[in-house]
Symmetry: T
Subunit: 151 residues, 12 copies
Amino acid sequence: MTTLLKIAVVHGPNLNLLGTREPSTYGRATLADIDRELVALGRQENTEVACAQANGEGELVALIQSLGATHDGLVLNPAAYTHTSVAIRDAVLAVGKPAVEVHLSNVHAREPFRHHSFLADIVVGRVMGFGAHSYRLGLLGLLAHLRGIGA
Amino acid sequence: MTTLLKIAVVHGPNLNLLGTREPSTYGRATLADIDRELVALGRQENTEVACAQANGEGELVALIQSLGATHDGLVLNPAAYTHTSVAIRDAVLAVGKPAVEVHLSNVHAREPFRHHSFLADIVVGRVMGFGAHSYRLGLLGLLAHLRGIGA
Amino acid sequence: MTTLLKIAVVHGPNLNLLGTREPSTYGRATLADIDRELVALGRQENTEVACAQANGEGELVALIQSLGATHDGLVLNPAAYTHTSVAIRDAVLAVGKPAVEVHLSNVHAREPFRHHSFLADIVVGRVMGFGAHSYRLGLLGLLAHLRGIGA
Amino acid sequence: MTTLLKIAVVHGPNLNLLGTREPSTYGRATLADIDRELVALGRQENTEVACAQANGEGELVALIQSLGATHDGLVLNPAAYTHTSVAIRDAVLAVGKPAVEVHLSNVHAREPFRHHSFLADIVVGRVMGFGAHSYRLGLLGLLAHLRGIGA
Amino acid sequence: MTTLLKIAVVHGPNLNLLGTREPSTYGRATLADIDRELVALGRQENTEVACAQANGEGELVALIQSLGATHDGLVLNPAAYTHTSVAIRDAVLAVGKPAVEVHLSNVHAREPFRHHSFLADIVVGRVMGFGAHSYRLGLLGLLAHLRGIGA
Amino acid sequence: MTTLLKIAVVHGPNLNLLGTREPSTYGRATLADIDRELVALGRQENTEVACAQANGEGELVALIQSLGATHDGLVLNPAAYTHTSVAIRDAVLAVGKPAVEVHLSNVHAREPFRHHSFLADIVVGRVMGFGAHSYRLGLLGLLAHLRGIGA
Amino acid sequence: MTTLLKIAVVHGPNLNLLGTREPSTYGRATLADIDRELVALGRQENTEVACAQANGEGELVALIQSLGATHDGLVLNPAAYTHTSVAIRDAVLAVGKPAVEVHLSNVHAREPFRHHSFLADIVVGRVMGFGAHSYRLGLLGLLAHLRGIGA
Amino acid sequence: MTTLLKIAVVHGPNLNLLGTREPSTYGRATLADIDRELVALGRQENTEVACAQANGEGELVALIQSLGATHDGLVLNPAAYTHTSVAIRDAVLAVGKPAVEVHLSNVHAREPFRHHSFLADIVVGRVMGFGAHSYRLGLLGLLAHLRGIGA
Amino acid sequence: MTTLLKIAVVHGPNLNLLGTREPSTYGRATLADIDRELVALGRQENTEVACAQANGEGELVALIQSLGATHDGLVLNPAAYTHTSVAIRDAVLAVGKPAVEVHLSNVHAREPFRHHSFLADIVVGRVMGFGAHSYRLGLLGLLAHLRGIGA
Amino acid sequence: MTTLLKIAVVHGPNLNLLGTREPSTYGRATLADIDRELVALGRQENTEVACAQANGEGELVALIQSLGATHDGLVLNPAAYTHTSVAIRDAVLAVGKPAVEVHLSNVHAREPFRHHSFLADIVVGRVMGFGAHSYRLGLLGLLAHLRGIGA
Amino acid sequence: MTTLLKIAVVHGPNLNLLGTREPSTYGRATLADIDRELVALGRQENTEVACAQANGEGELVALIQSLGATHDGLVLNPAAYTHTSVAIRDAVLAVGKPAVEVHLSNVHAREPFRHHSFLADIVVGRVMGFGAHSYRLGLLGLLAHLRGIGA
Amino acid sequence: MTTLLKIAVVHGPNLNLLGTREPSTYGRATLADIDRELVALGRQENTEVACAQANGEGELVALIQSLGATHDGLVLNPAAYTHTSVAIRDAVLAVGKPAVEVHLSNVHAREPFRHHSFLADIVVGRVMGFGAHSYRLGLLGLLAHLRGIGA
């Protein structure tokens, strides 16, 4: 049987509006729906999943510092801060835990400033474009990475 | 019960060497191993999976044209051509089927010329960095997209 | 008689220092002075004007989310975040209300990094360079837009 | 009572077609409508407003030279020449009168070559995106500037 | 039998010197020769062809406004203004008639600043490099477009 | 009477799908239709026209080498390779025959990476945007060039 | 004897982790250690040193506003915000006190995005690369500047 | 004795204001003063000097065409059009007479957009920064060039 | 005596035309001449030399894979693909054998797009500009590298 | 007690003029003053300090080679060569001794070409903007580095 | 009568070869010829002219330092160092005397790297393209500047 | 028998340290070793080889001027000046002798600023990456070029 793992999922700014905001781009599931499904998926995979959201860059830095210290890995969707935050990059480097970057939409099919990510080169992997499913795939990918499957 | 789907997986240049070539970057699974696992995963998901590899850009264009005509979606790892081929982009646009772009390694952690993809803005989604597992996640993401799950 | 409208005015970082900070660039009116005048102008125009300021990007995102939900339009002076914040852009897109971008100074006569605005292409219009008067003109422009005058 | 001021409004190329040309971008008011409203607004503000239009860069240079010599300020919509004319910039610098730049549409929501303005850094302020209302706001802003209100 | 069409041909600056100016680059035909041949070709194609030349950007704007209002399409060789004029682009957009861009020489084999065209993305098509023959091919292409041939 | 000429028409990748692929961009004529019309047009112009298509860059190099050796000129639509292939440019330079570059669509009205052509500066002329008619105009232009008409 | 001076030291995001985070890059001293040494050094130099840290950009803006109002100068290590924050630059400009920028590591030996600083051109001086010693040197440099030594 | 030469001096936009406009940048001599001195200097050098000014790009093209046809060389100060006009470049190329580019001010000590000149690479030489004296030096340089002195 | 070595020489597109194609740039030796001389030089140096040419990128990838597996080093002249092929770079990385890049002409004296090489940073060394002699020097350099001479 | 260390201070071009040249930018101390103070500071810190200046790049290379061979570290102010010299960088790399880069002025508050340094990424640390005091801070920083203090 | 002035003329690298080196670009006069003519011209203008040449950047810095200290102005042709030397720029700034930049050839008609000058924005004026005559015009311009003629 | 040739080998800055400096990058041979081997190789090839080294740009210019005047060709390793010196380029152009550029290391596998060479487009050929062997290959290549072998 697989080891028990603890994974933190961290959501960035405006994701608290999910389900109401621009549904054609981001889908209809609310953040609570997504978190519930990730916890359920975690349970199937012998994994504890904790979820948190914040709109502030400094609050996200603090969340990554504290959750990173107590979890085995991070699933991160920094939303807008993906493209502008060195502070979040530094927090991920500081906690030193494997992280996966996920996006609901395919950021490369949107404005050019969304094509650059300050996390892209320091994460294990990236998943984007599958709506709420991106999180689930990202979680599965991170678990496979942590358990050394499919490398 | 879910509808039967047919998915084509197309591998680009040098992936025939997988398992022998730069294992620290690309892992130890051979292409045959990966194809076998994708077919098996497809069977679990009520999906027929066909796989093909080519080293030539024109051959990959031809593969996408013919497989695209007879399948419901494409999982593409164009390898080096990701960064240089407009012809493969045009083939994907021409067949008009949903496609997912996958990479074994995290291309953003490598040379700058690997950060650009000529497919990125026309695919449903992208998965990278999870080794052979990237294909499996990409296949699951494409199936979810085609079946309208988790959007 | 014109419909009653509700407009939120949101001020960004360091604008709390207005009147004391670099008066040659920003003028001598305090933020309280400006807010008072905007409320008075709103009253003349059959409009309720609510004003708020914050120094934090995440706090501004939250202000735009909450005020955007309850008002008909936004007059925004994101100050420094104009040039660096995708999160504020996303908040404006998420609330889906018409917004006007205003600046006290003419940002194009200042440092090059102030020439780019992450809001410029998603707002109705922009007004800059008229000191505190920029807000009043921006409010009038937004009202004309909402009431379909002068289009 | 406020001093009598004289303001010249100068319209650039193709604005003679206003009301007929691309109404979805530029609105339905004709140039004559706009000029009439500006004269009326001027009268309310104790200001004489003179309006002129030309399609040629050299003609606009000449208009700015002659009107600039006899007026207290300029409201300029150089249209296409905004983005390409150093000669008009030089004419404005040469006459040495305060100028305001206005645009019917929000140029930042259009083609990238419209994002640069050769006037932006030498005008008092800029107003854009409010259709014909941009002129009225620009005129009010210029008057406030000339009379030292709201600085 | 094909419908009668009216096409305006507009020549830009310095083309009045054709036949005398740099014959190795531009050939020996004069502008009058070219216009005569285009009128003749038009007659064969049941088309009235009107030709005009100007050295001034504003004059060309005016020509396109007036000829565009009374003709079914435009064959444009804006010469030097191809690379610098937004005003001519705006005139073509304003009149809303299909236009074809032609050049005597192959502009891509000349100085880099001639590689960009402010018309290229708003015309039906482009023909260049065939000397005076470029006009004839451009006229034929425009007629085919207007009559829906060979689309 | 004009000399008999031999012209080769070479089509690049994905053009074998013509008529089925993205008809709104590329029209409804198949490649066989186009080739048939070009042969017919050739016959009217006392010219033998040979046509060939390939999806591979190397195959196109080989076609240009062999057809270039036995024909008087080339009409080339390298499609996607226009923007990425130095090898095709080198093949055209190597065979030393006059060539004309044609495109069905107006590449300047599409993605920025389609604005650059590795052939543009070494061909006699370019024709684009007229659908299948581009080939016919390109052939006429090449014949005029070879026969010294309209230079 | 030298005048008593008051200096505020402001630390940016993730510096709260100092001593635990990436010691090979940032050294083993904790932030408390550094603050203690700076206070001690201040005492030797007849200077009161106050220290503060925050992870949020808005909180740092507020700290600089309040500490700047009550101190004679600022020693700033904005960490990640060095490279992304215009708001902190504006806060430093607003308080109008001499500031020194310090970094533990040599930012020019790290990722390219760390080579740009939004503070560099508005501070008195910069010190970097000496680990915790950078702060001490920065403090000494600021005191020399304030007391007019060695200019 | 030296041959009689005929030289045309052509002044660009806004130079008609010389002596009144920005005297700190451009000096106090009027254009009539400069022309008079150039004619006098020409007389000393056995040279007829004709001078003309225009504000319009098209008018300058026409002046260069007509004066170029009847004179041995050109002294050009295209002012603002130096930086934006391909049409004037083409007119100079078309008339095929040696030309010298002069500027009153040192354009390299001004805004970056004044550092580029569309004439620079096709003129014999350039003189700038000496106020009205630039014209005299330019005329002397052109005469030396035409008479083969000092090559 | 030196160890026996096996070296593969791989020629890229259009090199099959050598001796006939642009002799002023590439010289008069045919590819067969060059291969013969390299085999002869190899014999003198106790080295087996195998030579192969292909026009297709995929074929070159396959050649490098197979020859790389059975030889001690590679002398590569990828011709046009030097500047465009990531796939060939990946093949060289995959086979993991020392390689030398050679060019007949000095690519830096030609078009700018020939100045970049996708192989340059992964080869042992580069030789260019000596015509067919470049191959011989490249072979000697590779042998010296493999035998540890002159390091 | 601390070990005896030997440090070389190397001054670049025009620093021989110090005290006379642009005192508002560089201060009033002469180079001899600075050297004297550094020697005195060295004595306090149990360190022998040797100072040298040269105007030539090659002479500075030679100084760094010879002083680098006999000293424990280098304090370098290459002045203008900071921004242009690879040779000095190579000399520092060649001697392999820890070096500190110092500047009298804050180079980031000056012309853009002074923002780049060819030494920045290979030195231990950088100090700038404190006038002659920059040298003293740089020396202290280098000593702390060499003695392992405050890392 | 005009005041006696002292002017230093400083020639940069390779100008010692003048008259022998690339005469088609630089003319046939030797440096001694030019110096002789400048001294003669100086005599006519009541000016002492001293000339010096050096190939080294540091030697030129020293020449400008010493000659600048004892002369009223500088005529500089830094040749290749024009484009690469900040040290010479700094020397000119340091001596604080008016300088004129001259070039034999028109640097804008040559390689792109010759279009930039590190002196251009700090000199009074520039003269180029008139061969040896450039020096004479530069000297006359500098004298006019120093004597306040023609400003 | 081959003609006697005279070749000068010129080494740039820091190469005097060869054998001691960064041996992992540059190898263990000293400059004297290399020169000895080149002289010996020259003797085998009926060629007199003279070698010289300098650290100064001006000294290298002088060496190239004097050696270039008396030798048939140049083998140049300008080391750091490769990337920064226009003066050395000009010296090579001035002496008009064929030159070959050599580098010990593969400069394309090092820092980006080493990828550009101011000599690359004016030399016969380039050899790099083979350590001291690069010189020998460069000498052989130059002799083949001068004797017309293998062109």
